[in-house]
Symmetry: C2
């Protein structure tokens, strides 16, 4: 038996169904935000499956959860694969979870096939990839790659003011695991993920050989005006924070429209206060998420945002806080070649492509050779409860993954 | 002693200070939303003061709270004065509360002066004038004037989904009072209120003789698109509900700007979902509050809103729900004249003016002759925690009120 032949499509699909119950929504998606009770339940589920197979389970100071299948060389650094189990508030069943379950299926397939590897093989579930509850996203992998960032991250607060430190302590209490060193050496890293875009489906192609991740920048814009009575205050006397925020947002959408539709610009979260229908808003806060493969384009648009902030919001005042910035990531040429050659050898249609979304792999790529494997998702829809993928595609990506991990674990 | 001479400026000011503690905020304002525990505390406070003076206290099916000073003619319908004790989420200490405490001070002043009136004089605190928690505002007075609306109002929900019926039951349990018939006959009604605008202060005038209330319309706009991943979805493939809502809002601000700055247009509440920084919004909901002295202008702008809704939101869809409409209210000429003549007789500077804000008096005016008395507030600022007024102006308005009520109660 090869590892690829031991991949069990039905088991993998059932594990997705089991995980989808944890934070499952009536529309068939999941709400399993980082460090929530649903996140803790998913951690306990993964740990239970791991222990049933005799794999070791441990965590680290930011709550990343590891499952370890031993290798033959006790000194060798492990190869690692995984993704995240947290979701958007109205997220899908596959975003992140597929990468964790594919990695775990790879461990099980190696076990079922009786394959010994020189290096240990680890499956990992990174903490808080989504960044919808706590900023920034891809936090667990960032702290793993840069342990010096831990202290700052622990002080982050969610939108209700809950400290990440406290939410993490709650989660680790509800889903306990032995604590190990943060940021231990890793030989190589490969992450499987649904594409979250339409290209593979459109090309009737099963495997995306991911070459790079586009750069991204995240901001919070705060517009401050003055609360006033909606019935008595003439427009000329108002400092209407939402009217100013609307002028600014309209100008930002215009300033970020590019002719080839490559720049991604999103205002995803908006809070207007005091939020009463008959009070002129005194404050409006919104987020900006901006991405492009070319970092100089992002720098240029950031300068445009700063200019518009001052131009469009008088008589209110506005400020821009940069809460995250990732330059574009290029994956390791040898890992890219290994993924491509493995898909080829398994007779799977494949294509090289960059990733539009950020992934934990972008941080780990700064620590070791890294790559990613994409599989198609229906209509390219993600961050949506109707996100979908086929059992056959999920299994195909996992077959590539297990062969790649085996090869890397014997290098 | 006349009623006006018995008005006790210090007592009135102290009562405002006592009430400001119930829901008081660090910035010196109040958060005492309708049917909240803070609202119940204010009801208990008013009832305690009333009972200490031997006045009767009762409520009705929508939770309006009445304080009654008996008259000499047991058959005569009462004259009534009051306003509301609920506040905006970040409201001031005087909006509404002044009208309730001025009415109560009038009862006490009549009592202190030993004045008997033919008709009973009632002080009233209307339920949910602000409409910030439950829609629509001025609910208690509306139901008093139109008891057939009670059943509908009881089914209203707040933004968290709490039924008004349940919040009302909780409040009446925490602040119990004998229940009386809804919408009993009233001989006349006069409401005191801070101006909530800048005109009296600018004219160094103490008393506003209110002639009318401008018309208002309230709407909820819902824009629906499709959630998608912020990093992978090209703009051309997006149905971004917030981008569409921004185009619409920008066009609405433009379409409602009038050359003499008379039309009031406010977007006060905005909700964008799922509210995650890296998900393209699938839904955006916002409120519109629009007011003008001329109802035909409101009808014309409503038609413009409907037109823009379709024009500006493609490829998303949008709908407009009208949740409230009040035509302009003209107050009773005899009550207006009485307020004016009383201010004149007391030697107080006064001017006639319409009200920019809606008030409970607009509903009661459909049931009996009604009028209003305005006093200045600092810089015209209201619906804001820094709302302010002077003890002297509050007392002056109350002196006019007690004389007007005495005259009406002997007619």
């Amino acid at each position: 038996m090869s590892g690829a032949n031991s991949v069990n499509e039905q088991r993998l699909w059932q594990r997705h169904a089991d995980m989808a119950k944890l934070g499952g929504t009536p529309k068939g998606g999941v709400n399993r935000q980082a460090l929530s009770p649903e996140d803790a339940a998913a951690r306990n589920q993964l740990a239970a499956w791991a222990k049933a197979r005799g794999f070791e389970v441990f965590t680290d100071a930011i709550g990343n959860l590891f499952v370890r299948r031993a290798g033959t060389d006790p000194q060798a650094a492990p190869v690692m694969s995984g993704s995240h189990m947290d979701s958007q508030p109205t997220g899908g069943r596959f975003d992140g979870m597929y990468g964790v379950l594919a990695a775990f299926e790879a461990l099980e397939a190696l076990e079922d096939a009786g394959i010994r590897t020189r290096r240990p093989v680890l499956a990992v579930a990174w903490t808080n990839e989504e960044g919808s509850r706590f900023q920034p996203g891809a936090m667990g992998s960032a702290v793993f790659a840069h342990p010096e960032r831990l202290a700052t991250m622990l002080q982050q607060k969610d939108w209700e003011g809950v400290l990440l430190k406290d939410a993490l302590a709650e989660t680790l209490k509800a889903a306990p695991a032995p604590m190990r060193e943060l940021g231990f050496p890793v030989a190589s890293y490969v992450e499987a993920h649904i594409e979250q875009g339409p290209r593979l489906e459109a090309a009737a192609t099963t495997i995306g050989v991911v070459t790079a991740i586009q750069g991204s920048r995240r901001y919070i814009v705060t517009v401050e005006g003055e609360e006033a009575h909606a019935g008595t205050t003439p427009r000329a006397a108002r400092k209407d924070a939402y009217a100013a925020a609307t002028r600014l947002a309209a100008a930002l959408y215009d300033a970020t429209a590019d002719h080839d539709d490559t720049l991604r610009f999103t205002i995803g979260r908006v809070e207007v206060s005091p939020g009463s229908p008959n009070t002129v808003p005194g404050k409006a806060v919104f987020t900006i998420d901006m991405r492009h493969p070319d970092d100089t384009v992002l720098a240029d648009r950031e300068a445009a945002i700063e200019r518009l902030l001052a131009e469009k919001t008088a008589p209110c005042t506005a400020s821009l806080e940069k809460i995250g910035a990732m330059p574009p990531t290029d994956f390791d040429p040898k890992v890219i070649a290994l993924v491509r050659d493995t898909a080829q050898a398994l007779g799977l249609r494949h294509m090289e492509m960059p990733s539009g979304a950020g992934h934990d792999a972008m941080h780990i790529a700064s620590r070791c050779p890294a790559g990613m494997i994409f599989v198609p998702c229906e209509r390219g829809i993600s961050h949506n409860e109707i996100e979908n993928a086929t059992p056959a595609d999920l299994a195909a990506g996992t077959r590539v993954l297990v062969e790649v991990l085996e090869a890397l674990a014997n290098r």
